[in-house]
Symmetry: C2
Subunit: 243 residues, 2 copies
Protein backbone atom coordinates (compact mmCIF):
# COMPACT_ATOMS: atom_id res chain seq x y z
CA UNK A 1 0.00 0.00 0.00
CA UNK A 2 1.36 3.41 -0.97
CA UNK A 3 0.77 6.79 0.58
CA UNK A 4 -1.21 9.83 -0.56
CA UNK A 5 0.17 13.36 -0.32
CA UNK A 6 -2.30 16.19 -0.90
CA UNK A 7 -0.06 19.09 -1.77
CA UNK A 8 -0.60 22.83 -1.97
CA UNK A 9 1.97 24.06 -4.45
CA UNK A 10 1.38 27.75 -3.79
CA UNK A 11 0.10 30.13 -6.43
CA UNK A 12 3.11 30.43 -8.67
CA UNK A 13 4.80 27.15 -9.33
CA UNK A 14 8.18 26.14 -7.99
CA UNK A 15 9.26 29.50 -6.57
CA UNK A 16 6.38 29.48 -4.06
CA UNK A 17 6.42 25.76 -3.24
CA UNK A 18 7.71 24.76 0.19
CA UNK A 19 10.61 22.31 0.49
CA UNK A 20 8.21 19.98 2.30
CA UNK A 21 5.87 19.94 -0.70
CA UNK A 22 8.76 19.49 -3.07
CA UNK A 23 10.11 16.57 -1.07
CA UNK A 24 6.71 14.88 -1.12
CA UNK A 25 6.60 15.09 -4.91
CA UNK A 26 10.07 13.59 -5.00
CA UNK A 27 8.89 10.68 -2.84
CA UNK A 28 5.87 10.10 -5.09
CA UNK A 29 6.11 8.15 -8.30
CA UNK A 30 2.77 9.41 -9.60
CA UNK A 31 1.66 13.05 -9.71
CA UNK A 32 -2.00 13.91 -10.28
CA UNK A 33 -3.65 17.29 -10.79
CA UNK A 34 -5.16 19.92 -13.02
CA UNK A 35 -3.13 20.13 -16.22
CA UNK A 36 -2.31 23.86 -16.05
CA UNK A 37 -0.66 23.36 -12.65
CA UNK A 38 1.20 20.19 -13.54
CA UNK A 39 2.61 21.91 -16.62
CA UNK A 40 4.46 24.24 -14.23
CA UNK A 41 6.04 21.27 -12.47
CA UNK A 42 6.67 18.56 -15.00
CA UNK A 43 10.09 19.64 -16.25
CA UNK A 44 11.41 19.85 -12.69
CA UNK A 45 10.46 16.34 -11.65
CA UNK A 46 11.84 13.83 -14.10
CA UNK A 47 11.08 10.15 -13.91
CA UNK A 48 7.60 10.59 -12.50
CA UNK A 49 4.35 9.67 -14.14
CA UNK A 50 2.01 12.68 -14.49
CA UNK A 51 -1.75 12.25 -14.82
CA UNK A 52 -3.35 15.51 -15.88
CA UNK A 53 -7.03 16.21 -15.64
CA UNK A 54 -9.53 18.97 -16.32
CA UNK A 55 -10.81 21.51 -13.80
CA UNK A 56 -13.84 19.55 -12.67
CA UNK A 57 -14.31 15.82 -11.99
CA UNK A 58 -12.64 16.18 -8.59
CA UNK A 59 -14.32 13.09 -7.15
CA UNK A 60 -13.14 10.90 -10.04
CA UNK A 61 -9.64 12.29 -9.62
CA UNK A 62 -9.59 11.37 -5.92
CA UNK A 63 -10.92 7.89 -6.65
CA UNK A 64 -8.12 7.39 -9.16
CA UNK A 65 -5.55 8.58 -6.61
CA UNK A 66 -6.90 6.12 -4.04
CA UNK A 67 -6.90 3.28 -6.54
CA UNK A 68 -3.31 3.94 -7.51
CA UNK A 69 -2.20 4.24 -3.89
CA UNK A 70 -3.89 0.94 -3.04
CA UNK A 71 -1.92 -0.62 -5.92
CA UNK A 72 1.26 0.46 -4.12
CA UNK A 73 2.06 3.83 -5.65
CA UNK A 74 3.03 6.89 -3.63
CA UNK A 75 0.75 9.49 -5.15
CA UNK A 76 1.03 13.28 -5.00
CA UNK A 77 -2.29 15.04 -5.58
CA UNK A 78 -1.46 18.66 -6.34
CA UNK A 79 -3.61 21.78 -5.84
CA UNK A 80 -2.67 25.34 -6.68
CA UNK A 81 -2.39 27.62 -3.65
CA UNK A 82 -3.21 25.78 -0.42
CA UNK A 83 -4.66 22.28 -0.80
CA UNK A 84 -6.68 22.91 2.37
CA UNK A 85 -8.47 26.09 1.19
CA UNK A 86 -11.04 25.25 -1.51
CA UNK A 87 -8.46 22.65 -2.60
CA UNK A 88 -8.37 18.86 -2.82
CA UNK A 89 -7.65 17.95 0.82
CA UNK A 90 -11.25 17.61 1.95
CA UNK A 91 -12.59 15.61 -0.94
CA UNK A 92 -9.56 13.29 -0.86
CA UNK A 93 -10.12 12.54 2.84
CA UNK A 94 -13.83 12.02 2.21
CA UNK A 95 -13.20 9.57 -0.62
CA UNK A 96 -10.69 7.61 1.49
CA UNK A 97 -13.04 7.52 4.49
CA UNK A 98 -15.95 6.35 2.38
CA UNK A 99 -13.85 3.56 0.89
CA UNK A 100 -13.10 2.15 4.32
CA UNK A 101 -9.40 2.08 3.52
CA UNK A 102 -6.90 3.03 6.20
CA UNK A 103 -4.40 4.41 3.74
CA UNK A 104 -2.16 7.21 5.01
CA UNK A 105 -3.09 10.69 3.72
CA UNK A 106 -0.75 13.59 4.47
CA UNK A 107 -1.96 17.13 3.79
CA UNK A 108 0.83 19.59 3.00
CA UNK A 109 -0.16 23.26 3.13
CA UNK A 110 0.80 25.95 0.65
CA UNK A 111 0.62 29.71 0.22
CA UNK A 112 -2.99 30.57 -0.54
CA UNK A 113 -3.97 33.07 -3.26
CA UNK A 114 -5.14 35.70 -0.73
CA UNK A 115 -1.66 35.85 0.82
CA UNK A 116 0.05 36.07 -2.55
CA UNK A 117 -2.37 38.71 -3.85
CA UNK A 118 -1.99 40.72 -0.65
CA UNK A 119 1.80 40.77 -1.05
CA UNK A 120 1.41 42.16 -4.57
CA UNK A 121 -0.94 44.91 -3.37
CA UNK A 122 1.00 45.94 -0.26
CA UNK A 123 -0.47 44.89 3.09
CA UNK A 124 -4.27 44.79 2.80
CA UNK A 125 -4.94 41.85 5.16
CA UNK A 126 -3.04 42.94 8.24
CA UNK A 127 -6.26 42.73 10.22
CA UNK A 128 -9.18 40.32 10.60
CA UNK A 129 -10.45 39.02 7.28
CA UNK A 130 -13.03 36.74 5.72
CA UNK A 131 -12.47 34.50 2.72
CA UNK A 132 -15.54 33.78 0.58
CA UNK A 133 -15.86 31.86 -2.68
CA UNK A 134 -18.46 33.18 -5.10
CA UNK A 135 -18.74 29.82 -6.82
CA UNK A 136 -22.27 28.50 -6.53
CA UNK A 137 -21.45 25.10 -8.03
CA UNK A 138 -21.89 23.49 -4.62
CA UNK A 139 -23.04 26.33 -2.38
CA UNK A 140 -26.42 28.07 -2.70
CA UNK A 141 -26.16 31.75 -3.56
CA UNK A 142 -28.38 32.55 -0.54
CA UNK A 143 -25.64 31.29 1.79
CA UNK A 144 -22.89 33.03 -0.13
CA UNK A 145 -24.72 36.35 -0.09
CA UNK A 146 -25.55 35.96 3.59
CA UNK A 147 -21.86 35.53 4.33
CA UNK A 148 -20.95 38.62 2.32
CA UNK A 149 -23.55 40.53 4.31
CA UNK A 150 -22.15 39.42 7.68
CA UNK A 151 -18.54 39.92 6.64
CA UNK A 152 -19.38 43.45 5.48
CA UNK A 153 -21.22 44.25 8.71
CA UNK A 154 -18.31 42.91 10.77
CA UNK A 155 -15.88 45.24 8.95
CA UNK A 156 -13.73 42.32 7.88
CA UNK A 157 -11.32 42.72 5.01
CA UNK A 158 -13.05 40.49 2.44
CA UNK A 159 -11.15 38.18 0.10
CA UNK A 160 -13.26 36.90 -2.78
CA UNK A 161 -12.17 33.70 -4.53
CA UNK A 162 -13.70 32.49 -7.79
CA UNK A 163 -15.32 35.88 -8.32
CA UNK A 164 -16.63 35.25 -11.79
CA UNK A 165 -17.04 32.60 -14.42
CA UNK A 166 -19.05 32.15 -17.58
CA UNK A 167 -22.08 30.86 -15.72
CA UNK A 168 -22.22 33.45 -12.97
CA UNK A 169 -20.98 36.77 -14.19
CA UNK A 170 -23.34 38.80 -12.05
CA UNK A 171 -22.36 37.66 -8.54
CA UNK A 172 -19.40 39.98 -8.22
CA UNK A 173 -21.72 42.90 -8.96
CA UNK A 174 -24.17 41.81 -6.29
CA UNK A 175 -21.34 41.16 -3.83
CA UNK A 176 -20.04 44.66 -4.39
CA UNK A 177 -23.52 46.13 -3.92
CA UNK A 178 -23.93 44.30 -0.60
CA UNK A 179 -20.62 45.60 0.72
CA UNK A 180 -21.50 49.14 -0.47
CA UNK A 181 -24.43 49.12 1.97
CA UNK A 182 -21.95 49.09 4.84
CA UNK A 183 -18.77 50.65 3.49
CA UNK A 184 -17.72 53.89 1.92
CA UNK A 185 -17.70 54.05 -1.89
CA UNK A 186 -14.00 55.00 -1.70
CA UNK A 187 -12.99 51.83 0.16
CA UNK A 188 -9.91 50.44 -1.59
CA UNK A 189 -10.33 47.21 -3.55
CA UNK A 190 -7.38 45.20 -4.83
CA UNK A 191 -7.87 43.10 -7.94
CA UNK A 192 -5.11 40.61 -8.76
CA UNK A 193 -5.23 38.29 -11.75
CA UNK A 194 -2.99 35.24 -12.33
CA UNK A 195 -1.16 35.89 -9.08
CA UNK A 196 2.38 34.52 -9.12
CA UNK A 197 1.98 33.26 -12.66
CA UNK A 198 2.72 34.46 -16.16
CA UNK A 199 0.40 37.32 -17.00
CA UNK A 200 0.02 38.57 -13.43
CA UNK A 201 -1.74 41.92 -13.28
CA UNK A 202 -2.93 43.97 -10.34
CA UNK A 203 -5.09 47.05 -9.94
CA UNK A 204 -6.09 49.02 -6.87
CA UNK A 205 -9.58 50.40 -7.38
CA UNK A 206 -12.43 51.44 -5.10
CA UNK A 207 -15.78 49.87 -4.30
CA UNK A 208 -17.34 52.53 -6.49
CA UNK A 209 -15.34 51.81 -9.65
CA UNK A 210 -14.09 48.24 -9.16
CA UNK A 211 -16.47 46.80 -11.73
CA UNK A 212 -14.74 48.75 -14.50
CA UNK A 213 -11.90 46.24 -14.25
CA UNK A 214 -11.74 42.82 -15.79
CA UNK A 215 -12.52 40.18 -13.17
CA UNK A 216 -12.45 36.52 -14.13
CA UNK A 217 -12.09 33.13 -12.49
CA UNK A 218 -8.31 33.54 -12.18
CA UNK A 219 -8.74 36.76 -10.20
CA UNK A 220 -8.72 37.35 -6.45
CA UNK A 221 -10.56 40.43 -5.17
CA UNK A 222 -9.59 41.94 -1.80
CA UNK A 223 -11.99 44.53 -0.37
CA UNK A 224 -10.49 46.70 2.36
CA UNK A 225 -12.09 47.37 5.75
CA UNK A 226 -13.12 50.81 7.01
CA UNK A 227 -9.49 51.66 7.89
CA UNK A 228 -7.81 50.54 4.66
CA UNK A 229 -6.10 53.26 2.63
CA UNK A 230 -3.92 53.68 -0.43
CA UNK A 231 -0.55 55.38 -0.24
CA UNK A 232 2.17 55.48 -2.87
CA UNK A 233 0.40 52.80 -4.87
CA UNK A 234 0.15 50.36 -1.95
CA UNK A 235 -3.05 49.14 -0.33
CA UNK A 236 -2.59 49.12 3.45
CA UNK A 237 -4.88 48.02 6.26
CA UNK A 238 -3.29 49.40 9.42
CA UNK A 239 -3.12 47.21 12.47
CA UNK A 240 -3.05 50.18 14.78
CA UNK A 241 0.59 50.81 15.59
CA UNK A 242 1.46 54.39 16.55
CA UNK A 243 4.26 55.69 14.37
CA UNK B 1 20.32 52.65 -1.10
CA UNK B 2 19.51 49.02 -0.33
CA UNK B 3 16.27 47.17 -0.59
CA UNK B 4 13.86 45.85 2.04
CA UNK B 5 12.32 42.37 1.85
CA UNK B 6 9.46 41.64 4.25
CA UNK B 7 9.42 37.88 4.37
CA UNK B 8 6.90 35.35 5.62
CA UNK B 9 8.94 32.30 6.53
CA UNK B 10 5.96 30.01 7.09
CA UNK B 11 5.17 28.45 10.44
CA UNK B 12 7.91 25.89 10.73
CA UNK B 13 11.27 27.18 9.65
CA UNK B 14 13.11 26.14 6.52
CA UNK B 15 10.89 23.21 5.51
CA UNK B 16 7.91 25.55 5.01
CA UNK B 17 9.79 28.51 3.51
CA UNK B 18 9.32 29.19 -0.19
CA UNK B 19 12.33 29.30 -2.52
CA UNK B 20 11.44 32.93 -3.21
CA UNK B 21 11.73 33.79 0.50
CA UNK B 22 14.94 31.83 0.80
CA UNK B 23 16.45 33.63 -2.19
CA UNK B 24 15.57 37.01 -0.67
CA UNK B 25 17.40 36.12 2.53
CA UNK B 26 20.37 35.08 0.43
CA UNK B 27 20.35 38.47 -1.32
CA UNK B 28 20.18 40.30 2.02
CA UNK B 29 23.24 40.95 4.12
CA UNK B 30 21.24 41.80 7.23
CA UNK B 31 18.40 39.70 8.67
CA UNK B 32 16.07 41.21 11.29
CA UNK B 33 13.31 39.55 13.30
CA UNK B 34 12.02 38.03 16.50
CA UNK B 35 14.75 35.95 18.06
CA UNK B 36 12.83 32.66 18.26
CA UNK B 37 12.26 32.73 14.49
CA UNK B 38 15.77 33.78 13.55
CA UNK B 39 17.16 30.95 15.68
CA UNK B 40 15.49 28.56 13.23
CA UNK B 41 17.31 30.20 10.32
CA UNK B 42 20.71 31.32 11.47
CA UNK B 43 22.66 28.12 10.90
CA UNK B 44 21.38 27.88 7.31
CA UNK B 45 22.47 31.36 6.24
CA UNK B 46 26.13 31.86 6.96
CA UNK B 47 27.87 35.18 6.44
CA UNK B 48 24.81 37.30 7.26
CA UNK B 49 24.40 39.66 10.15
CA UNK B 50 21.39 38.77 12.32
CA UNK B 51 19.66 41.34 14.52
CA UNK B 52 17.30 39.64 16.93
CA UNK B 53 14.62 41.43 18.86
CA UNK B 54 11.83 40.76 21.34
CA UNK B 55 8.19 40.16 20.51
CA UNK B 56 7.08 43.78 20.80
CA UNK B 57 8.73 47.05 19.68
CA UNK B 58 7.66 46.44 16.09
CA UNK B 59 7.84 50.12 15.15
CA UNK B 60 11.42 50.45 16.40
CA UNK B 61 12.34 47.30 14.50
CA UNK B 62 10.97 48.74 11.24
CA UNK B 63 12.73 52.05 11.82
CA UNK B 64 16.00 50.16 12.27
CA UNK B 65 15.36 48.22 9.07
CA UNK B 66 14.74 51.45 7.16
CA UNK B 67 17.84 53.08 8.61
CA UNK B 68 20.02 50.14 7.61
CA UNK B 69 18.52 49.98 4.13
CA UNK B 70 19.14 53.70 3.65
CA UNK B 71 22.76 53.07 4.61
CA UNK B 72 22.95 50.67 1.66
CA UNK B 73 22.17 47.28 3.19
CA UNK B 74 19.76 44.80 1.67
CA UNK B 75 17.65 43.93 4.69
CA UNK B 76 15.38 40.91 5.22
CA UNK B 77 12.69 41.52 7.83
CA UNK B 78 11.34 38.11 8.77
CA UNK B 79 7.91 37.20 10.17
CA UNK B 80 6.70 33.75 11.10
CA UNK B 81 3.81 32.49 8.96
CA UNK B 82 2.75 35.06 6.38
CA UNK B 83 4.29 38.53 6.73
CA UNK B 84 1.04 39.96 5.35
CA UNK B 85 -1.32 38.43 7.94
CA UNK B 86 -0.83 40.07 11.35
CA UNK B 87 2.84 40.21 10.31
CA UNK B 88 5.35 42.99 9.65
CA UNK B 89 4.39 43.99 6.09
CA UNK B 90 1.90 46.72 7.01
CA UNK B 91 3.93 48.44 9.68
CA UNK B 92 7.06 48.34 7.49
CA UNK B 93 5.22 50.03 4.61
CA UNK B 94 3.76 52.59 7.00
CA UNK B 95 7.17 53.45 8.45
CA UNK B 96 8.68 53.83 4.97
CA UNK B 97 5.77 55.99 3.75
CA UNK B 98 5.96 58.24 6.80
CA UNK B 99 9.69 58.73 6.29
CA UNK B 100 9.15 60.05 2.78
CA UNK B 101 11.75 57.63 1.45
CA UNK B 102 11.16 55.95 -1.88
CA UNK B 103 13.08 52.83 -0.92
CA UNK B 104 11.95 49.59 -2.56
CA UNK B 105 9.93 47.27 -0.26
CA UNK B 106 9.08 43.79 -1.52
CA UNK B 107 6.57 41.71 0.44
CA UNK B 108 7.06 37.95 0.10
CA UNK B 109 4.16 35.83 1.31
CA UNK B 110 4.37 32.68 3.39
CA UNK B 111 2.17 29.86 4.61
CA UNK B 112 -0.04 31.29 7.36
CA UNK B 113 -0.69 29.42 10.61
CA UNK B 114 -4.33 28.68 9.74
CA UNK B 115 -3.26 26.75 6.64
CA UNK B 116 -0.62 24.82 8.52
CA UNK B 117 -2.93 24.04 11.44
CA UNK B 118 -5.67 22.96 9.04
CA UNK B 119 -3.32 20.50 7.36
CA UNK B 120 -2.52 18.92 10.73
CA UNK B 121 -6.20 18.56 11.59
CA UNK B 122 -7.41 17.23 8.23
CA UNK B 123 -9.38 19.64 6.04
CA UNK B 124 -11.34 22.01 8.30
CA UNK B 125 -11.19 25.14 6.11
CA UNK B 126 -12.41 23.79 2.81
CA UNK B 127 -15.19 26.36 2.87
CA UNK B 128 -15.57 30.08 3.61
CA UNK B 129 -13.73 31.14 6.74
CA UNK B 130 -12.97 34.14 8.91
CA UNK B 131 -9.65 34.85 10.61
CA UNK B 132 -9.82 36.84 13.85
CA UNK B 133 -7.07 37.80 16.27
CA UNK B 134 -8.08 37.90 19.93
CA UNK B 135 -5.24 40.25 20.78
CA UNK B 136 -6.61 43.50 22.17
CA UNK B 137 -3.24 45.24 22.23
CA UNK B 138 -4.31 47.47 19.34
CA UNK B 139 -7.93 46.50 18.71
CA UNK B 140 -10.78 47.22 21.14
CA UNK B 141 -12.46 44.09 22.48
CA UNK B 142 -15.83 45.48 21.38
CA UNK B 143 -14.74 45.25 17.73
CA UNK B 144 -13.20 41.80 18.20
CA UNK B 145 -16.32 40.43 19.86
CA UNK B 146 -18.54 42.02 17.20
CA UNK B 147 -16.55 40.23 14.53
CA UNK B 148 -16.87 36.90 16.33
CA UNK B 149 -20.60 37.47 16.51
CA UNK B 150 -20.92 38.16 12.77
CA UNK B 151 -18.59 35.32 11.78
CA UNK B 152 -20.65 32.94 13.93
CA UNK B 153 -23.92 34.14 12.43
CA UNK B 154 -22.52 33.80 8.91
CA UNK B 155 -21.62 30.15 9.59
CA UNK B 156 -17.98 30.81 8.70
CA UNK B 157 -15.30 28.41 9.83
CA UNK B 158 -13.54 30.61 12.39
CA UNK B 159 -9.75 30.70 12.80
CA UNK B 160 -8.65 32.38 16.02
CA UNK B 161 -5.10 33.75 16.19
CA UNK B 162 -3.49 34.93 19.44
CA UNK B 163 -6.24 33.23 21.44
CA UNK B 164 -4.74 33.80 24.85
CA UNK B 165 -1.90 35.49 26.68
CA UNK B 166 -1.07 36.40 30.24
CA UNK B 167 -3.01 39.65 30.08
CA UNK B 168 -6.18 38.35 28.44
CA UNK B 169 -6.88 34.81 29.47
CA UNK B 170 -10.64 35.21 29.41
CA UNK B 171 -11.25 36.20 25.79
CA UNK B 172 -11.16 32.68 24.41
CA UNK B 173 -13.89 31.74 26.88
CA UNK B 174 -16.07 34.65 25.79
CA UNK B 175 -15.36 33.91 22.12
CA UNK B 176 -16.48 30.34 22.60
CA UNK B 177 -19.64 31.48 24.40
CA UNK B 178 -20.52 33.82 21.52
CA UNK B 179 -20.14 31.06 18.94
CA UNK B 180 -22.20 28.68 21.13
CA UNK B 181 -25.17 31.02 20.71
CA UNK B 182 -25.27 30.12 17.00
CA UNK B 183 -23.69 26.67 16.71
CA UNK B 184 -24.25 23.24 18.14
CA UNK B 185 -22.27 22.32 21.26
CA UNK B 186 -20.85 19.35 19.35
CA UNK B 187 -19.31 21.52 16.62
CA UNK B 188 -15.73 20.30 16.10
CA UNK B 189 -12.93 22.58 17.25
CA UNK B 190 -9.30 22.01 16.28
CA UNK B 191 -6.62 23.25 18.65
CA UNK B 192 -3.06 23.25 17.31
CA UNK B 193 -0.09 24.43 19.33
CA UNK B 194 3.39 25.24 17.97
CA UNK B 195 2.30 24.31 14.47
CA UNK B 196 5.21 23.15 12.32
CA UNK B 197 7.65 23.59 15.18
CA UNK B 198 9.20 21.48 17.89
CA UNK B 199 6.55 20.59 20.43
CA UNK B 200 3.65 20.63 17.96
CA UNK B 201 0.49 19.21 19.49
CA UNK B 202 -3.04 19.02 18.16
CA UNK B 203 -6.40 18.12 19.62
CA UNK B 204 -9.83 17.89 18.06
CA UNK B 205 -12.41 18.90 20.64
CA UNK B 206 -15.93 20.35 20.53
CA UNK B 207 -17.30 23.79 21.33
CA UNK B 208 -18.66 22.26 24.52
CA UNK B 209 -15.38 20.92 25.88
CA UNK B 210 -12.71 22.93 24.06
CA UNK B 211 -11.81 24.96 27.14
CA UNK B 212 -10.54 21.82 28.89
CA UNK B 213 -7.48 22.03 26.64
CA UNK B 214 -4.44 24.20 27.09
CA UNK B 215 -4.67 27.22 24.80
CA UNK B 216 -1.85 29.74 24.78
CA UNK B 217 -0.45 32.44 22.52
CA UNK B 218 1.33 29.85 20.34
CA UNK B 219 -1.98 28.10 19.64
CA UNK B 220 -4.35 28.43 16.68
CA UNK B 221 -8.00 27.51 17.28
CA UNK B 222 -10.19 26.47 14.31
CA UNK B 223 -13.93 26.31 14.97
CA UNK B 224 -15.88 24.31 12.40
CA UNK B 225 -19.01 25.51 10.63
CA UNK B 226 -22.43 23.82 10.86
CA UNK B 227 -21.33 21.11 8.38
CA UNK B 228 -17.95 20.24 9.89
CA UNK B 229 -17.56 16.69 11.19
CA UNK B 230 -14.94 14.38 12.62
CA UNK B 231 -14.15 11.04 11.02
CA UNK B 232 -11.21 8.74 11.72
CA UNK B 233 -9.52 11.44 13.74
CA UNK B 234 -9.71 14.05 10.99
CA UNK B 235 -11.68 17.30 11.11
CA UNK B 236 -13.42 17.83 7.78
CA UNK B 237 -15.56 20.67 6.47
CA UNK B 238 -17.19 19.31 3.33
CA UNK B 239 -17.38 21.51 0.29
CA UNK B 240 -20.40 19.71 -0.99
CA UNK B 241 -19.14 17.14 -3.48
CA UNK B 242 -21.39 14.12 -3.97
CA UNK B 243 -19.42 10.93 -3.42
Amino acid sequence: MGKIFVIGMGPGGLKDMSPRARKAIEVADLVVGYSAYLDLLQEHFLGKQFIKSGMTREVERCKLVLEKALEGHNVALVSSGDSGIYGMAGIMLEVVNKSGSNIDVEVIPGITAASAAAAVLGAPIMHDFAVISLSDLMTPWELISKRIEYAAQGDFVICLYNPKSKNRSGYINIARDIVMKYRDANTPVGIVKNVGRTGQTSVIATLENMLNNEIDMFTVVLIGNSQTYIEKGKMITPRGYRL
